[in-house]
Symmetry: D2
Subunit: 397 residues, 4 copies
């Protein structure tokens, strides 16, 4: 990959602007957090906020500056080891479960690292080739993904603290749903899904390809907290007939009987949020549920989860109420026909995770601005639920 003087002024300028906006947004997320808050790791699935800030910076240093900018001097040689996430091609790295032990470098040192890289990028981007600009684009979307993870990881960390700290000032959670559930008949036959157009998309969102849709309907909104309480009241968590076998094992072993971050306090159901503990809003979408729970609820409701293709086609046709919670689909996260991972380390971005996980579509209140699109394929293991994950029903007709 060589860096040549580029004349693509418009694209470059756009990227320079967005680079500044997106990078600043990451830092703005930790306003109000202490060095310690950004250092702790509450479980192996989660990462410290400080680590997110450093790792996204490592991406630009490693894939853009180190290899393509002459005389670029790494901020700190040790960071390549500390802040690589999972790129085997980039060599050894710090063990994931020990990220919370990195009390050093301090938050301030990480912010200095960010400034160092931001300065170098600002200087270098002007001369980047199209191929390098593609990598910058990737790095920005990568950063946006970590912005959402940073929020859900802080939420999880604070939820484990008996004094329940709040990241954000309290404000009312909007009661977005006050209508009975309606059904939208889906289009059937040969349809196309996958990314199209010239805008950015991750490699796994393509190639665009034809799928066959069978007769079905999809709900006009996600399932709400109030509906979920009826599932609980009807012993939904205690009746194996609704559950996938692995889900039932999980529910029993983990003693699960409610969404993550719920508690009962003096007869009131509360939810731990970025604003701290608050009473559950009945008409808001249920969130922090696993695929196992979503599937069990759908079974209890005599329905099923939509497939990824059904969801995406419906979204292209105007499905309402997208973007409040990630919506579990019934589709395993597997490659699209013709999918090929990119060469080199960035090829590890998506493809190697294509076993054991399910696709979620849409986006959530924690998703960064401009990061929601219909072809987006979010993916998690069926037991994971610390994201803002909910569900929308579908059924065969």
């Amino acid at each position: 990959m060589s860096s040549t003087t580029s004349l693509n002024t418009a694209r470059t300028q756009d990227l320079v602007d967005r680079f500044e906006t997106i990078r600043s947004h990451s830092v703005s997320l930790i306003a109000g957090l202490s060095d310690a808050d950004t250092t702790a790791q509450s479980m192996e699935d989660a990462s410290p906020a400080k680590w997110h800030l450093a790792h996204t910076t490592w991406f630009f240093e490693t894939f853009l500056l180190r290899d393509n900018v002459q005389d670029y001097k790494a901020f700190n040689e040790a960071y390549a080891y500390l802040f690589n996430s999972y790129y085997e091609a980039e060599g050894a790295r710090h063990a994931r479960p020990e990220r919370g032990l990195l009390t050093r470098p301090s938050l301030q040192a990480v912010l200095n690292f960010r400034a160092h890289v931001d300065d170098a990028m600002a200087e270098a981007m002007d001369g980047f080739s199209e191929a390098l600009l593609d990598l910058v684009e990737l790095g920005l979307h990568h950063e946006q993904q970590h912005q959402e993870l940073l929020l859900t990881d802080i939420l999880h960390l604070f939820s484990r603290n008996p004094i329940g700290p709040a990241l954000l000032e309290p404000k009312p959670r909007p009661a977005i749903i006050d209508t009975p559930l309606g059904w939208i008949e889906g289009v059937t036959g040969v349809q196309s899904i996958g990314h199209h157009g010239k805008d950015f998309a991750f490699d796994c969102e393509g190639p665009r390809h034809e799928v066959m849709l069978h007769p079905h309907a999809i709900a006009d909104r996600p399932v709400t907290n109030g509906e979920w309480q009826r599932f609980i009241a009807d012993d939904g968590y205690a009746d194996p007939c609704h559950w996938l076998s692995d889900g039932w094992s999980w529910v029993q072993k983990q003693k699960i009987d409610a969404p993550l971050h719920w508690r009962e306090r003096d007869g009131v159901t509360e939810e731990f949020t970025l604003q701290g503990w608050r009473e559950v809003v009945l008409c808001a979408p249920v969130r922090h549920i696993s695929l196992f729970e979503a599937d069990a609820y759908a079974s209890w409701a005599n329905a099923r989860l939509p497939t990824e293709a059904e969801w995406e086609v419906a979204a292209e046709n105007g499905l309402p109420d997208i973007g409040n919670v990630w919506e579990w689909t019934g589709s395993a996260y597997r490659p699209y026909p013709g999918f090929r991972a990119a060469e080199g380390a960035v090829g590890e971005y998506n493809g190697k995770f294509m076993s054991g996980q399910f696709v979620l579509k849409g986006g959530s209140v924690a998703t960064s601005p401009g990061h929601i699109r219909n072809s987006y394929r979010n993916f998690f293991y069926p037991h994971q639920r610390w994201q803002f994950s909910g569900l929308r029903l579908a059924k065969d007709i």
Copy 2:
């Protein structure tokens, strides 16, 4: 479900005959095994041979005799608890990991249980309704599934014994493959898969439905042991770039570097078989590999696994060399469009296992006669490999 006198003489007679044949075949499999051999459980995934013999009998006692035959007297009231596998609707049951502790009832007692149920079935089947005959049919296919598991479980048990006992007399393993790999171009566009016709199929094999196939080719034979040795020699097990992320974790944690049941002895690669330890046959299909290994091999070979739909359509069109090893596909085991599990306990047969597992197609040397069909959906977790599981390559074209 009520039992009425049936006039369906032909079907009844066919089932009576097959009942006798299949039930006898199960018992013939343990010729040469001791009471102890049939009692031990070598890992949680496996079950004792004695348990297989009793559990398949429990199926007929529970779903046919107990509920539908007046005055039927259970052979032993305790067996309902001991030999239920996973049917939640049938109540509490003995914990799976403790099946190997059931030194009592003895093998002879289990054989007596079989005779008791066989006699009662022989007497009762004449009067069974169509619906009950359907259940008998299900019970026989269920028994054939357990016949294969009985063999792979005994193989696993004996493989853990340092003195390496053999179930069968030695006979040469046929060298079935002596041709270079060829590619068969697959049909594309809208195709149909899933069970059709009047013969028996499990619920998960339907409904038959249309799928969209994209340009691809599929290998004309499975991958061989000789080819697998080249993968090993090329450090295939040691290079993360070939592996799914979960697969790489598994390989490292379990220190996997060859198919299950392989060992090196005096410079010779040996395989543990039902005939004991034998030199690996280079031109025979590789077997006892996990989905993770199959996927890594395919990646190393610059190919991929076929999807279930590609495989099934190719098989319908005459794919060669099916039936020696189960072939991992790249498809997650998920429900077909319109799938609905049956009501009641037998509805737990397949549907509740539809998360986390991958589909295997075809059949193996251990599959019971007449139990191979193109729509058959075998399924296991991606790390499991004690079945006779291999792979066939596919690629986009």
Copy 3:
């Protein structure tokens, strides 16, 4: 070690006789057990009965016949690997947790192994030197230890079987205790403990040495089931103030609320015994309790456990009711002053286990005839309780 013709006729003849008696007794213990019963292993702490029969035979083959009898031909070369328990100096061995997978060799083969070794021993013993006769003596006491383990291991195996098989014919358990607890004042000052005299003792029972005893009293009988029920009724298992910290963790994690092998059935407390499930005898010594439970009971009773030295001195002075249950002491199993393990493999017999375990004194209903002596040091980890282990109280005065 060389074998010379010995004139020690009396000792030799005694050992020949006892060899026959003790070896036969082992086989008599498994009357009524099937091949499968003697093969299964119910937990890692326990071993299969067949393994006990083979391992005790391996002792004689390895330490007497193999090394000292010219032309002795091993019964089966593989057995050295299969039936070594923990002697590092004797090389690699089969993993302990997998003993239950050895369905082969069969029980009959193991009995043939025993006959082969017994014949060779009968022929060879006449010519054994004193040093070899010492090893024979050790082997016989070793065999007696395994006789008790065989019984407790079978008891544990059968206890895990829902149909609760019985090893022995039912007979009433004697109600040995019908008196209120009395206290015996212990002797104080400098006293001696440890083996003395010419009879056999394990190395860890010596050297005999002086200890200092402080004012104390010791109970005139073990604690009974009836007394234990009062401990339970008083929430003894639920109040942390009685428990050692490690014991409290164990009770909570394992959800312990009664001795091992107890159950409540229709308002009656039952105990699983070698005669199957039977009502608990209130005036019999409580058994199948851990050191943690024994210590908690003593604390609840405002008493403590006796030290090993207090117990042994009291026993030498005629402590009543010894031999029904092993009695936990408050003494860690550590070497006596001047203790040195023997050279070579038999030196691994006791010394290497001297960390983390507590001493039990006395003997139980399962102890072999003639195997009880006051200097005997039985030892188990503080959480273990599948032996016939109970307690006797002591207190400072």
Copy 4:
């Protein structure tokens, strides 16, 4: 416990002074540590520095101020839950393994908590009864224990950080030992151990009592790093014949082959210290070894560990080189004759830990000034080694 006006001016004044000195010392230890450094928990055995600072303060608030000072207002009601360590009688508490998730309260908040309690204590101590002054004394010794733990826990945390931060400025580690090992013959017969005199001691250090000592000698200095390297070079970690059985399992499972905090770097053996990575000083006492390693070394050296009684009597008679490293003894941590734990929550201080642990004697470079005495009984599990733990040899003569 009631607070009455006391005239014991001298004792009160002494305690007031020491209270100020010791409490200040704790805070001085974290000079140079960030909020994050004091928040992280590197393993379940260790605690965050912030937690140590808060927990020692909780002790005074709970046992002195809350119960005995009228109108005392708790600094924060939540702290009773957060900073109780293991006192069951004080109610529920935050789970130990989750201490590192308490990013709030911040270090500054904890320092404010300390100031709040220190002020209240300064005001209240004047009026404390003798009994309360005893509790103050206990609280100060408790705080000194935690001062050492704070240092070893920070050392462990920093050792897990690839960039190896240093707590202290580099200074040469004194080469204290340059003499060959000499042996001191111990006194024998009836001797006394345990605390005597009027100074403070923990309850477990008494009652003073007579013990019987047998002929033995004890080394005139601890084992050094240079000697330990010879143990390593002689395959000491690889030969099971030196090891306790539990130790051998531990060495193999944990892949132990050197003291904790050692590494090889370019042919040099380095040790992680509070000054960061430094070359090992050959003539300094080896440290960060477990009881298992100490015992194996002693066995390899044809010696043994001293008993606690041998060590204490030798120390009373002037054993040299005490106080550089804690010295493992061969004695289990069990109660002395006549020991009774105190009533109430403070009775949980020592007694409930008397199973499974071994006694260490002496003190280390990390022990607080004035906190070393011969009767002191430090105790850890035989696998633990993050303390400054070493060994001194003994032998029978």
